[in-house]
Symmetry: C2
Subunit: 230 residues, 2 copies
DNA sequence: TAAATAGTGTCTCTAAGACACTATCAT
DNA sequence: ATGATAGTGTCTTAGAGACACTATTTA
């Protein structure tokens, strides 16, 4: 950075969390209802200010634990948002993080949230949220959609052991497109390191028991699993 | 963000720029030599503090204009870096931007830079830079490499009109791999919106004149142009 | 035995990779 | 003519998409 600047303007730095899961066959995001001004009563992303001695990712992990207590399978930085005026309280730069969690137990509302809950991401796309959180949420959802194509991140939405059908349903929920079960199986099983077989099987589906798999060691998918066009 | 926080700790917010170009058949980054402490004499990314009434991208664009005056073909946010202790002067969160520029005229050193210049990205990977700038540079280079696969961003490195061979040389320089000219041509020309033909041709290569193209309207490449393995 | 879900095999077609020849300029 | 670079065509093969049948469980 430059040295010429004599003054270091004072900013507040916050982290905001786009927490996503797959629930009832749909991609859902964790939102809180704001209890105070500004934007009282409006839905908002969970988050909070970064402490002065704390790293960005550490702050995100702390807020996530404080506000949800969920087991988090994946946490990555999304982007930063810092338009002047995005927060009426002052000059706040917010570093957004994307968190992916498997099958969620109902989240407990944090001390600062009037209510917390999962809402379907598609319905949220046109709803007014606090601050610029709709934009942040949209960026997070798009990041997740895109990353399913070329990473093994879908396993982050699954329990520790899962069936191929459950993994496929993650893709279908997030992309909003049905996938051919046979072609999907072939792709997943032929991609080295995507999933590892376990000795066990489950019958929670009702029909013939399905083999259970664990997430493999690979993180990239190459060639990618392309999202159907339409 | 949370409301419970009573104090808003004061941070400085900076932008750092990973400015990339293709020069002498290699990917090169714009670096300055720091004239003052901390890290005096060490190479660093250009950048500066964000003003209190200024957006993040606006600050990046301003610094870019101030320090280089280059025509910028592409500017996107890269990531934010905010470990405590990354800047000995205090708590600084840096929002890094990635800028891609075509054939550069020699950059003019900014007022705050002892010297500015292009250095090969590969050689820089193992060199000590100021702050955590080596990490930021590495992230920027990797972003550029990856984005060549699934976007038309390579045209950002080219002049307004360019030949297919010049576009191919951008890929070869950034990926560090030779590409088959015939397969490359087929891919580029058969991808709708990648390039648009112009009526003119050039003979700056020496042999048969080559047709000139302009960047097309498409920004995504689907299916992608895969990077050779090895 | 009927219903439900799991798991596999084949054909086709698109597109990438490997490769060789012809075309058009300058000298 | 020779050298240099541009531009096109073919064969092969990997892999995606479409599609139908058999297998194993519960009710």
């Amino acid at each position: 950075m430059t040295k010429r600047e004599q003054s270091y303007p004072a900013f507040a730095v916050a982290v905001d969390l786009v927490v996503l899961t797959v629930l009832d066959g749909a991609l859902q995001a964790l939102l809180i209802e704001r209890g105070e001004e500004p934007f009282q009563g409006r839905l908002a992303l969970p988050g909070g200010f970064v402490r002065i001695d704390e790293g960005l990712e550490a702050a995100a992990a702390r807020e996530l634990a404080e506000e949800t207590g969920l087991r988090v399978a994946h946490l990555e930085q999304l982007a930063s948002y810092g338009e002047p005026g995005r927060d009426p309280r002052g000059r706040v730069v917010s570093v957004a993080y994307l968190a992916l969690v498997p099958e969620p137990p109902t989240p407990t509302a944090g001390t600062d949230a009037a209510a917390a809950g999962w809402r379907r991401a598609v319905g949220l796309a046109h709803r007014k949220l606090a601050f610029d959180h709709r934009r942040i949420l949209r960026d997070g959802v798009e990041r997740a959609r895109a990353k399913l194509e070329y990473t093994t991140l879908a396993t982050s939405f699954c329990p520790p052991e899962f069936t191929i059908a459950e993994l496929r349903q993650v893709y279908e929920a997030i992309w909003g497109h049905p996938l051919d079960p046979r072609n999907f199986s072939r792709k997943v099983l032929s991609t080295e390191g995507f999933v590892e077989p376990t000795p066990s099987a489950t019958t929670r589906g009702g029909g013939r028991p399905a083999r259970l798999y664990r997430a493999g060691k690979a993180s990239e998918l190459s060639p990618p699993l392309r999202r159907p066009t339409t």
